[in-house]
Symmetry: C2
Subunit: 175 residues, 2 copies
């Protein structure tokens, strides 16, 4: 376990905080650890009654690439992850889920990034309406899970949480 | 696709760079996107002849937690990912792999982080010697893959790349 000697806040933004920290390591030596702090996030693997799922197609500035991803979003003000998952699914896809269960939670990049994503499986969907944020530009795609599986096996999906969620869902189902 | 109007470099460190960017979105409106830039990284799911794999047990300052993860590390100076995977596996675990093949590559957190991880499957291992960096404190654990699977199914593993790699490996194997 490390001890933080001094945390230097380099940047505080709307959705993230970046710190440069002087740290004492377990052997007593000292050094630095940079940390990007993000709010926890949720992502939802939702199935309709015909085994289709919903992906969002959006341009991601951080990686300069157009990606297909599970619907996802950050927790707002200490929101419960289940509530956030239901909210984000409906906001991004226009579907309200009447059944939801947790799949797993994980750190996205624990060497430098403080971010945990909670994945949910949602079913029993009711069509309502999409509500996007002002700076959110995305298209919803309805895709059969066999097509999602094909795209994952061919590495056409490059978003980590999407690959993880579907592969782990299948691993659990095979037990 | 977005257009970067102005990139403001907030921080330049040894392993990362943080920028605050003024961006023009696809509808012509403008706003901001923060980006943490990390070098690409590799992670290795290595199997010995008895179906054991190797995990590293280390404290991760960014998430204030002790994690079990696949051996992994960043690409050094435009290094080829295969070379980096062989190097990191041997440095962290003390095993040189004589067979290696790509499993997939993915973005860890594409909303804010520019980081792609390349996962490899390694086999035909020869014991050599571990070489850790000065500020790397980790213990290597040899674990049978059935135990890794149990830990993943119980969400005892919380590192995303480790869950993703094993689950996707099993999905591919089941085809």
């Amino acid at each position: 376990m490390n001890k933080t000697i001094k945390e230097n806040v380099i940047y505080e933004g709307r959705i993230c905080r970046f710190t440069h920290n002087e740290v004492e390591f377990e052997d007593g030596s000292t050094g630095y650890r940079d940390v990007l702090h993000l709010a926890g996030a949720v992502a939802i693997l939702a199935f309709d009654d015909d085994d289709n799922t919903f992906l969002v197609d959006q341009y991601r500035h951080a990686v300069s690439d157009q990606l297909l991803e599970l619907p996802a979003g950050m927790l707002e003000n200490n929101e419960d992850p289940v509530e956030a998952a239901l909210r984000e699914l409906e906001e991004e896809t226009g579907y309200k889920a009447h059944e939801i269960e947790p799949l797993c939670s994980f750190y996205t990049s624990p060497g430098v990034v403080h971010e945990k994503i909670y994945i949910y499986i949602a079913r029993n969907l009711e069509h309502t309406a999409q509500h996007l944020d002002a700076d959110e530009f995305l298209k919803v795609k309805r895709i059969h899970i066999s097509e999602l599986e094909r795209m994952i096996l061919n590495n056409e999906i490059t978003d980590g949480k999407t690959i993880l969620a579907y592969s782990l869902y299948k691993l659990k189902k095979s037990q």
